[in-house]
Amino acid sequence: MSPIAGSNGSGTAAARPPAKPKLAIFGAASCGGCDIAIVNIHEHIVDVANAFDIVLWPTVMDGKYSDIEALADGEIAVTLVSGSMRTNETVHLARLLRRKSQIMVSFGSCASEGCIPGLANLSSRKQIIDTAFSTSSTDNPDNLRPVWECEVPEGVLHLPEFEPVLRTLDQVVDVDYTIPGCPPESNQIWAALEAVVKALNGTGPLPPKGSVLGAGNSTVCDECARKRDVKKIDRFVRIQQVAGFDPEICLLEQGLPCNGPATRNGCGALCPAVSAPCIGCYGAAEGVVDYGARLMSAYASVVQAIKPEEIDKVLDGIPDPVGQFYRFSLAGSLLHSSRSAWQDDGE
């Protein structure tokens, strides 16, 4: 297959330089922070523009889905998808982009493990839509609800349909690489893109399929400068309950639920350095099947109580276990959603 350089109405390409590989960046259900993180690679963004012909990046440039449909299969060299699969439109586009792309990258926490939008998997569609359309902050006197299909004189209008549960990109299409983070650190993004650019130029090897790019192979604890020696706690506290935390000692040992033991390194342990606990935005550490399970295991190991009622008292310090253990990873976890979500009653 011989890729043709993007022809955006600039006439015939008789004496053009050799075609650049095509790049697509697509944000599905996401906040846009990943796009900002990409722009945050500063002057390297010029290198990206030099290395690639950007065919789709809705956040920063005009692009039509029909242009993507018109491409040959596999014509896009690299596609970065930075959001989760919430509507049938995003699922359709992920499958379309997968077909058109040689390399599909799950970019950031939303695409890789569901992230904060994935916590919607604790609620049914009806609960989510009721909350969005009929709470005290909503001005909706007629109690209207969105409809996916609507007949008007000109024909039938369609809206992207909200799926019962949010899915991760790899639950919908085959994914080649994952770049974790909420959002990925900009220096890590450039390191990952550079590796792919080198491979496409033939000056470096392509990482093995399934690799996690732009992150470490260990845990946040490994990068954290705080001291750990006691590994025993008798209570969990919330950050607002304690006037000040010792700047030298492990936050978990001081009773602050810190997600470092289960979280992949690569961020530079920025949060614990400023006395904020790790919340797990870099996802599961290498070899971890289920992020929350690893964290439950770690917390159970440091709690010292042995009597059932004492244990309960300590664990009451974690009022929202799913929010603590699966803040970023619920949709991608083994159980992926609550029963009320997957037993969707179709409203």
Binding site: N88, Q171, G292, Y299, A300, L335, R339
Partner: protein
């Protein structure tokens, strides 16, 4: 051998009809106490329901919470965790770790809508074959009463065609076949996608 195996073996006494729901229970036992208790139940011909599938760990403290969640996600209706009595652990205090993991897991699965009876902890010493058999029978009946779990699998291989995808089909959602890298066939673009 008949062509079709019977749906479910009727329990002793033959009271229940053949269509009774037979729960699948994964039992994690420790090498030193509860597995020996199950062994003792066996050698003493103490009967317990065949619904439990016992897996031997060296210690209940070896129980990674992942094992429990994986069991639920792959079709188990309940998980039974069993180890030495408190204070009697072969590895000094690891069964306390199992107890704390069990309690954390129970809080988590309840938040996800799984009944707490589906995860149970039973202490049994190597001498308590009858006790373990009775506990297995009790758990089996409790789970039988609340019915099957049928948690849908979330990964790409099984999601298409099983419960989740069926739910989407029923609501008119996108129900394309399992995507494949090389030769998946995308149907005509949907109108809302081709703006």
């Amino acid at each position: 051998m008949s062509a079709q195996a019977p749906v479910a073996p009727a329990p002793a006494g033959g009271v229940a009809p053949a269509t009774t729901f037979e729960p699948v229970i994964i039992g994690f036992t420790c090498n030193w106490c509860s597995y020996r208790a199950a062994d003792l139940a066996g050698t003493a011909r103490t009967k317990y329901p065949p619904n439990v599938r016992l897996i031997r760990l060296m210690c209940s403290g070896r129980l990674d919470p992942t094992f429990v969640l994986k069991a639920f996600s792959e079709g188990a209706d309940a998980v039974l965790v069993s180890g030495c009595h408190p204070g009697e652990c072969h590895y000094i205090e690891q069964n306390y770790k199992a107890l704390r993991r069990f309690k954390l897991l129970q809080r988590t699965i309840e938040s996800l809508g799984i009944e707490p009876q589906r995860l149970q902890l039973v202490w049994a010493s190597a001498a308590e074959g009858v006790r373990l058999a009775n506990e297995i029978a009790r758990v089996t009946e409790e789970v039988r009463a609340i019915g099957p779990l049928n948690w849908p699998v979330g990964n790409i291989v099984d999601i298409d065609g099983v419960s989740l995808e069926a739910a989407w089909e029923a609501t008119g959602g996108d129900a394309e076949g399992p995507p494949e890298t090389a030769d998946c066939v995308d149907p005509e673009p949907e109108p809302e996608a081709a703006r």
